[in-house]
């Protein structure tokens, strides 16, 4: 098909331009914009007869109306795919950023992908050992799951993500890490990439970087570019792929900005009403597919504005993802790493991936017992703060003791400490041993005999 070119733009505002007199533009198609000798990319977002609105990924800064050339390419924004992408670094639109030249391949795909047919999915149930006790015991990560980290400014989410990626061992197959930096600070990116150096993992990383200083609208494309490549490695090449996307909050802000320019009626806090569906087209690209060898696991990171979990970004994310790992400022202040908030975190897929034949037979009951006990700890603590610790019953005092150890010994671990699931569960029993046996109602008598005696 002939590529059409137009010179002159009718209107430009924010990241949008309007063209008139266009024939045959396709909805969502990729356009190339040339102005002042610089090339930019954009896509068609509305067509009304011969009037076309285009969103420019790099923004409209320094664009002049008459001298701008617009070429309609007749295809959507695509990314080239090749096994040689391993170890490479790209920009937020998938162009090389490491000076190693273009990816050579005839395989190209639309970055928007297509929805996975639910009939074609395989229900994920294989345990990924992250070596982090709190996650492995209480919020087990499953291969093919989308499990975000809900963090806050200044909390160690990057450390946690890196630790998970480094330590994750899976029983078979290779692990490829796809890292999408969405509006991240340079220092964050450097920390994340350098943490993998010398770990063997570094040649298995593919990075897509949109830094804080890079164009805002490009952020809309970055996770999609990364996921298209991730899908290729998972479902075409058969790798187990872990996708780390950070920071989804920047993504959502870009979405809001764009929506604003388009004059759309906002929903909560100015974010567009379609943000749920939009985020879903990112998160739902995780999974396992019948007849395909690999898997796509997502570890998105977002920073909750004001640590507010009801803010639309964590809220809509939590409605789509298969659980969430919430970081707690309180634990962080008390020097506990990883500062995982046990009560508000959740892994929805763990139920079918733990226990006999998966982790260890006692795992489901131990997890349930830890939750019950730790939630009781909160009650006892608030009571103690009112009536004083001395006034507590002996049982309540035992709970306080348990709570303290649980946080200091079980949750807390080193950035490079890698615990096996057996170590984690044995440690859990040790924590439970601080409670009177009558309190252990969620584990069976046999389990008490078998495991509790061992740690006592």
């Amino acid at each position: 098909m002939a590529v059409k070119e137009y010179t002159g733009v009718k209107k430009a505002f924010g990241p949008l331009i309007v063209l008139e007199g266009v024939k045959g533009a396709a909805y969502d198609e990729l356009v190339e914009i040339e102005a002042n000798g610089k090339k930019r990319l954009g896509k068609v977002i509305t067509i009304d007869k011969d009037l076309v609105i285009i969103q420019i990924f790099e923004g409209t800064a320094q664009l002049s109306l008459p001298n701008t050339k617009v070429r309609f390419t007749g295809k959507p924004l695509e990314v080239k795919l090749s096994p040689d992408m391993l170890g490479r670094v790209f920009d937020g639109l998938g162009r090389p950023r490491d000076g190693l030249g273009e990816v050579v391949s005839s395989e190209k795909r639309d970055i928007n992908g297509l929805p996975i047919n639910p009939y074609s999915r395989v229900y994920p149930r294989n345990f990924i050992q992250t070596g982090i006790s709190t996650i492995d015991a209480l919020f087990t990560l499953i291969r093919g799951q989308k499990l975000p980290i809900f963090s806050g400014n200044g909390l160690p989410h990057n450390e946690l993500a890196v630790q998970i990626a480094r330590q994750s061992t899976i029983k078979e197959g290779e692990f490829v890490v796809v890292f999408a930096a969405i509006g991240l600070k340079n220092s964050d990116v450097r920390f994340i990439l350098s943490s993998f150096e010398g770990t063997g993992a570094s040649k298995n990383i593919i990075s897509f970087l949109n830094l804080a200083s890079d164009p805002v609208v490009e952020r809309i494309a970055t996770p999609r570019v990364a996921l298209t490549v991730a899908e290729y490695f998972a479902f075409d090449l058969g790798y187990h792929v872990l996708v780390i996307m950070s920071d989804i909050t920047n993504y959502c802000e870009a979405l809001r900005e764009l929506s604003n320019y388009r004059g759309e009626i906002p929903s909560r806090k100015g974010y567009p009403g379609y943000m749920y569906s939009d985020l879903a087209t990112i998160y739902e690209r995780a999974g396992i597919i019948e007849g395909k060898e690999g898997s796509l696991t997502q570890l998105p990171i977002l920073t909750m504005p004001n640590d507010d979990i009801t803010h639309p970004i964590p809220d809509l994310t939590g409605y789509i993802t298969e659980g969430q790992i919430v970081l707690s400022r309180d634990l962080h202040m008390r020097g506990i790493y990883p500062p995982i908030n046990v009560l508000s975190s959740l892994s929805r897929l763990m139920k079918d991936g733990i226990g006999e034949g998966y982790t260890r037979e006692d795992h489901p009951n131990v997890a349930s017992q830890l939750f019950a006990a730790y939630s009781r700890v909160q009650e006892v603590r608030s009571l103690a703060s009112i009536i004083g610790e001395e006034e507590l019953t002996d049982v309540d005092k035992a709970y306080l003791r348990f709570g303290e150890s649980f946080e200091r010994e079980f949750i807390k671990q080193d950035f490079s400490e890698d615990r096996s699931i057996e170590q984690t569960l044995d440690l859990a029993w040790k924590m439970l041993s601080y409670l009177p046996e009558e309190e252990l109602t969620r584990v069976s008598k046999e389990q008490i005999d078998k495991y509790l005696k061992k740690v006592k």
Binding site: Y27, P115, I265, A280, I289, L383
Partner: protein
């Protein structure tokens, strides 16, 4: 004149020319994407397209079909998984050539190759009327009845097909005016299917979930909403109901939710047995999936597709339960389309007609006498996903106006892993009075009374908890401490029910009653001794209390519960003896 696309804005397309009617199904563009006309203005038709429009251009053709957006109703639906506009996802996979759903796929909703053994119920010479059952086939756990379409009345049969194994494309009878009565019929999804008469709801839908059956029951033909923030257990509860509710047919709509949750049903249900029929649960289940990454406009349609299928089975005289997870996503789809149509929004961007759409949907539930004189019901249970878990938002508040059961899920309960996290203070059932008689006659005459007593203990406990939170439990007199303890017994021993437990996932009504009786009779006795100033530690003997708390898991049969009951009696006998000494 042939209609042509003149404007494209996401799933909303405007076509010029053509002679369409509102709600007509159309084929849009070179890819012939399925769409529905939602507005007409002069020569322009506004069309909602049920697939992604990327790549579409101005000038592409739009074809009318002459039909309203409809579903195909006939044998072969049970056990299937459809998308929001009834395309079977199994065939979509085939036609897409893989796991990713391609655009513009056209496929008939029923398997056209399968041969059904038909039992003919009428003969040439018989006269038929709308709704009448003329033939039937065995399908899954039920008998699928073929009914005369609406509008066909007082017509004689002149011919019967001369085969007994038919495919859905075959006709069954020919009528005097040449009309063929086939193996399937079609029905426009936005129009409720008619019934002869609506009947009051007086029989419970038994779910095996104690907090529902015992405390907040729903009637067959009733309506319920399950509001709750993310992770509070809406989907688990919907799945539990889909598994265990005593309905003949389950229609489960995954409306804008996770793909894996549909996969879970697809993998799990064929392996689970319906406790009443012994057949795999999948043989009574129909799934409709518009997962969150599938096109938003089809999300809006999925709810109607589902409820129309449910009504069709009701018309055969079955009790159908429909679960929609989540109606909020449907409402958001309405909002998104409304925004693209540049309608003036009411609250939070939702269109002003949000409330009436919600009302119309829930109004399609009910217990009814069908056109053929049978009794059938559609029970509607909708999940609601309020942003930030805030129940004051528009979808929750409007839904509350139109449903009779409100099972409010509570974040605090979920955080402390009290499941199902149905808050007993803010939830309600409008069927308690209507179902009293049924419970009295079919379970135990004392059931309603015990239930009320348990509720008032929970209520009193609620008040006491606010005192405890400030001053500790020690300030309470023993009689109130007892209330707190009994409330705990109810909460942990009865209300909490682990969906993953092999024993407790489903709890028969009789067992529910015996458990309640055990706890409440314990309370009555304990109260007497508290009045007699017996020490609490004696009354609430550790091992007895722990037996009661664990009876849901450890007492597998009614007999086992009676055993616990006897232990309680013995316990109080010995307390009595000690007291006398």
């Amino acid at each position: 004149m042939e209609a042509k696309v003149v404007k494209i804005n996401g799933p909303v397309v405007v076509a010029e020319g053509g002679n369409f009617v509102i709600n007509e199904m159309v084929r849009v563009g070179n890819l012939k994407l399925i769409g529905e006309v939602i507005g007409l203005d002069d020569d322009f038709a506004t069309i909602q397209v049920y697939e992604e429009t990327s790549g579409m251009k101005v000038g592409e053709p739009v074809e009318g079909t002459g039909n309203l957006l409809s579903v195909v109703l006939g044998p072969g639906m049970i056990g299937s998984i459809y998308d929001g506009i009834q395309r079977p996802l199994k065939f979509v996979e085939k036609l897409s050539g893989g796991p990713f759903i391609q655009k513009g796929i056209e496929t008939f909703p029923l398997n056209t190759h399968k041969r059904w053994k038909v039992e003919f119920l009428l003969e040439a010479g018989d006269t038929v009327n709308e709704g009448q059952i003329y033939a039937q086939v065995k399908e899954g756990a039920i008998v699928h009845k073929l009914m005369v379409p609406c509008g066909v009345n007082n017509k004689k049969i002149v011919e019967r097909i001369d085969k007994s194994e038919l495919t859905v494309k075959d006709y069954v009878y020919i009528l005097e005016d040449g009309t063929k009565l086939g193996m399937y019929q079609t029905w426009p999804v936005r129009i409720p299917r008619p019934v002869k008469k609506r009947l009051p709801e007086s029989v419970p839908l038994i779910t095996g979930q104690r907090v529902i059956d015992t405390f907040f029951p729903i009637a067959k033909g009733g309506t319920a909403a399950i509001p709750g923030g993310f992770g509070t257990g809406k989907t688990m509860l919907q799945h539990q109901l889909a598994k265990w509710a005593d309905a003949d047919i389950i229609v489960y709509i995954g409306c804008g939710e996770r793909g894996n949750e549909m996969t879970e049903v697809l993998t799990e249900f064929p392996k689970l047995q319906d406790p009443r029929t012994g057949k795999p649960l999948m043989e009574r289940t129909i799934l409709i999936a518009n997962t969150s990454n599938m096109p938003v406009s089809a999300r809006e349609a999925s709810i109607y597709t589902g409820i129309t299928i449910a009504e069709y089975f009701r018309d055969m005289g079955y009790n159908v339960a429909i679960m929609a997870d989540s109606t909020s996503r449907w409402a958001e789809a309405l909002r998104e389309l409304s925004g693209r149509l540049e309608e003036i929004p009411a609250e939070e961007g939702y269109p002003a007609y949000l409330a009436s759409r919600i009302a119309q949907f829930y109004e399609r539930a009910g217990y009814a006498e069908t056109l053929s004189g049978k009794r059938g019901s559609v029970t509607v249970i909708g999940a609601v996903s309020p942003p930030g878990g805030d129940f004051s938002e528009p979808v929750t508040t409007h839904t509350k106006r139109f449903v009779r059961c409100f099972w409010a899920l509570d974040r605090e309960l979920a955080y402390s892993r009290h499941y199902p996290a149905i808050n007993w203070n803010t939830s309600y059932s409008g069927f308690i009075q209507d179902l009293r008689a049924w419970y009295g006659e079919n379970v135990d005459e004392k059931f309603p009374e015990y239930r009320d007593k348990a509720m008032s203990i929970l209520e009193e406990d609620g008040k006491l908890q606010s005192i405890i939170n400030i001053m500790g439990e020690d300030v309470l007199p023993d009689s109130q401490k007892l209330v707190v303890r009994i409330a705990k017994m109810i909460k942990v021993g009865i209300l909490q029910q682990n969906a993953y437990s092999a024993v407790d996932s489903y709890c028969p009504l009789k067992k529910q009653f015996l458990m309640l009786k055990t706890v409440m009779d314990f309370y009555e006795k304990a109260k007497e001794f508290v009045e007699k100033k017996v020490a609490m530690s004696v009354i609430l003997k550790e091992d007895i209390v722990s037996k009661i708390m664990r009876m849901k898991e450890e007492a597998k049969t009614e007999e086992d519960i009676m055993e616990v009951y006897r232990l309680v009696q013995d316990h109080f006998k010995s307390v009595e003896e000690k007291y006398r000494e």
